[in-house]
Symmetry: C2
Subunit: 166 residues, 2 copies
DNA sequence: CGTGAAACATTAGCGGC
DNA sequence: GCCGCTAATGTTTCACG
């Protein structure tokens, strides 16, 4: 399930698609010195094996009025979980929190972390008023959340979806 | 330069393209109840106005052997800058650091932050050995860097490029 | 905004290396 | 196995109503 043996051409195709996901198969085929059919077969194989997870359009947050980016460190309650005592479905605090996070659209990334905080959230919102409402009404309102610590992005220095292909 | 007046159909187009950037114009046109030509005209307008920044393929880090994700907080030297004293080109520590960050492929995101650390880096690497080399040979080797604090991702709970469309 | 037609791209089947 | 050809099908794109 790790690597499905990628050769130099596969890597080149990935590098191209990481930069521009809408190039035509013909264009890609030219750039990797292959004819369209084997090139397409390789792309399909990369898609089916899951190396290519999907294709997306990237939007500009500023132009959509989403001017504020915050990183929020979250600490969770460690004991107990589902409301009913001795529930036959023992959802932990972690489970509950994960589900909530996945449902909140302003959370664009979330990792469980090492260190003294449990989760790191990347939160994309319109402005401070919206952020404040998010923290008060969603995050702190969540029964599993003990504590949050926020830092705001002053400036986005770099942001890429392109992975470093070894 | 903020919003270029997006109506409900534009938003629907953006929502669709954020999820699947390779749908054919015909398919999109159907889903928004338009014929292909006006739909394509809208998409072109969104591209030219920069609301759509581009199209990319998203790759699976695990399947490419990039199993380790770290968040690195960085603090910079605040005084001085270019090596030569009284340089006619007074690049600050911040400028130098930004340029370095943009050139390092393992850094997939970087923000200037509020709080006691200056920058937050998202670093995607193969394993701990690679990460260690990155910190020693690149980050700490950089003349502007005073101090770094790392946390590692134990589990990726959520990760989306889709912005919450108001 | 929609229609239609020309130009272009995708994709399956087959033969060759 | 992997490449490249061909031919049918589907898609994009643009002038015009």
């Amino acid at each position: 399930m790790a690597d499905t043996e990628l050769d130099a051409i596969d890597r080149k195709i990935l590098a191209i698609l990481q930069e521009n996901g809408r190039l035509s198969n013909q264009e890609i085929a030219e750039r990797v010195n292959l004819s369209p059919s084997p090139c397409l077969r390789r792309i399909r194989r990369l898609e089916e094996s899951g190396v290519i997870r999907g294709y997306v359009a990237l939007l500009d947050p500023q132009k959509l009025g989403l001017g504020l980016l915050a990183y929020v460190n979250v600490r969770l309650e460690k004991r107990g979980g589902t409301a009913g005592t001795r529930s036959p479905n023992p959802a932990t605090h972690a489970d509950l929190f994960r589900e909530a996070v996945r449902a909140w659209p302003e959370v664009v990334a979330c990792d469980a972390m090492t260190g003294d905080m449990d989760y790191l959230l990347r939160v994309q919102v319109e402005d401070m008023a919206h952020f404040s409402r998010f923290v008060q009404d969603q995050l702190l309102h969540h029964p599993s959340v003990i504590d949050v610590k926020t830092s705001f992005s002053l400036e986005r220095i770099k942001e890429t979806t392109a992975l470093p292909l070894l």
